[in-house]
């Protein structure tokens, strides 16, 4: 699995993805880790099929007993179907996930991990001296959905917003926005159900200081491409299946 450090300061952000051993018929996903001196948070840790390579990759950065927190942006299997495996591997961890999905996510098995429900209006995750904001992003696409913002690293992890599907050897950052648009268009038009929800989210996010916009699929956006993405998404009509 490819590992890319995307921020280094008092803490680190690492992106994991482009797993070469991934079965062909499952979608590629990005997983993110926020590493502080004694703790480690996995953001959208991935599906059950990805557990072994993801764990193996994380062990390059943290021991098992310092994986103290998981975050699930929403309930999809590619986000969190590995929960039952993390539940058996981690002795002292919390899962931060939308409150409305608690009864559903427990179907993946969550006996030793403590479920920290995120209320609809959001919250924070404190990881030693780092405070991450949980930004509501409901109906983009899931009805219960959050993004994670790090004001220090200026990274916004956006789940399925900004997603695109790439070849395994694609670069991790967008390098030509115009060319990238066509990889995102159908996904966003088909999967995002609500233009209203999209507008609310964009209004909220435009006020944030973002260097990197990090989705759960495909390339990340950095610098001016963040604004280009917001402008493009703002103009896009979504919810095309009805």
């Amino acid at each position: 699995m490819k590992m890319t450090k995307i921020y280094e300061g008092s803490h680190q952000w690492i992106m994991f993805g482009r797993d070469e051993g991934k079965p062909e018929n499952i979608i590629d996903t990005n997983q993110y880790v926020v590493r502080t001196p004694n703790r480690c948070l996995l953001l959208d840790p991935g599906g059950a099929e990805l557990f072994a390579p993801m764990m193996a990759a994380v062990l390059h950065h943290a021991p098992v007993d310092q994986i103290t927190d998981l975050f699930a942006s929403h309930q999809d299997p590619d986000v969190i179907s590995s929960l039952g495996l993390w539940d058996q591997a981690l002795t002292n961890a919390k899962l931060h996930a939308p409150a409305i999905w608690e009864g559903f996510l427990r179907h993946y098995s969550c006996e030793s991990i403590e479920y920290e429900p995120i209320p609809d209006n959001g919250g924070t995750i404190k990881l030693e001296s780092v405070e991450l904001q949980l930004i509501p992003a409901h109906y983009l696409h899931s009805p219960g959905n959050f993004h994670v913002y790090d004001p220090q690293a200026k990274i916004l992890m956006t789940g399925d917003v900004g997603a695109a599907f790439e070849a395994p050897d694609a670069p991790v950052f967008v390098d030509n926005f115009a060319a990238h648009v066509e990889k995102m268009r159908h996904w966003h038009q088909r999967m995002m159900p609500s233009n209203q929800a999209k507008r609310v989210w964009i209004e909220r996010v435009r006020n944030m200081d973002i260097d990197i916009l990090a989705p759960q699929h495909g390339r990340m956006f950095k610098g001016d491409d963040v604004k280009r993405f917001l402008d493009w998404f703002d103009a896009l009509q979504v919810g095309i299946a009805v």
Partner: protein, 202 residues
């Protein structure tokens, strides 16, 4: 899922389906016993020897129904254990794979504890499954014992029925239905025992 796990699921799930048929048949025996009691009452002295038999058949049917109800509850516990074992085995295999893929990683050794813990959990489940299978086999044997007893009673019923004059045909029909039902119960339960017995010592 391995073939062993699949066949384990199927063996445990098949018990419930075989036993639901046993339950229906046991209730039929109870009904036959009630019919026989009514006929024996009408026959009076001519079927005097038959009357205590009907009570015995009814009692046997009730005990069979109770045993089967308890076995069904236990079979569900066993099914959940099978699912648990499957999940723990899957976790152990994934942890081993992660440990292997992490060779050379700075914190690779920290994976040893989850691997060991997963192995112990998996083995505990396997041992518990074997213990529970043994117990279930014992319970199934008790049902077969009742079914054998019912067949003996059915044979005695035929003898008594032959003394009952004009009630002979009715009482023999009852004896026949009890015998047939007991035979069905015996065969169904035998199938469950055969399906399960391979897991007692595997």
């Amino acid at each position: 899922m391995t073939n062993q796990t699949k066949s384990q699921f199927i063996a445990v799930a098949s018990i419930t389906s075989e036993l639901s048929a046993v339950m229906v048949v046991a209730k039929e025996i109870s009904l036959a016993a009630a019919n026989a009691k009514a006929i024996a009452f009408r026959a009076g002295d001519k079927a005097k020897g038959f009357q205590p038999i009907t009570d015995f058949i009814n009692e046997l049917a009730k005990e069979t129904i109770e045993l089967v109800t308890n076995i069904n509850i236990y079979a569900l516990v066993l099914y959940r254990l099978t699912v648990d074992e499957y999940q723990k085995t899957a976790a152990y295999n994934k942890f081993e794979l992660a440990a292997k893929m992490a060779e050379g990683a700075v914190y690779a050794k920290s994976m040893q504890e989850p691997v060991d813990h997963a192995r112990l959990s998996m083995q505990d489940c396997q041992r518990q499954f074997k213990r529970d299978v043994s117990q279930l086999l014992g319970q199934l044997e008790a049902v077969m014992h009742h079914a054998r007893a019912a067949r003996v009673i059915a044979a005695n019923s035929r003898i008594e029925a032959s003394q009952a004059g004009e009630y002979l045909q009715s009482l023999q029909a009852v004896a026949e239905s009890v015998d047939k039902a007991a035979h069905t119960i015996h065969d169904n339960v035998q199938r469950c025992r055969i399906a399960l017995s391979i897991y007692r010592n595997s």
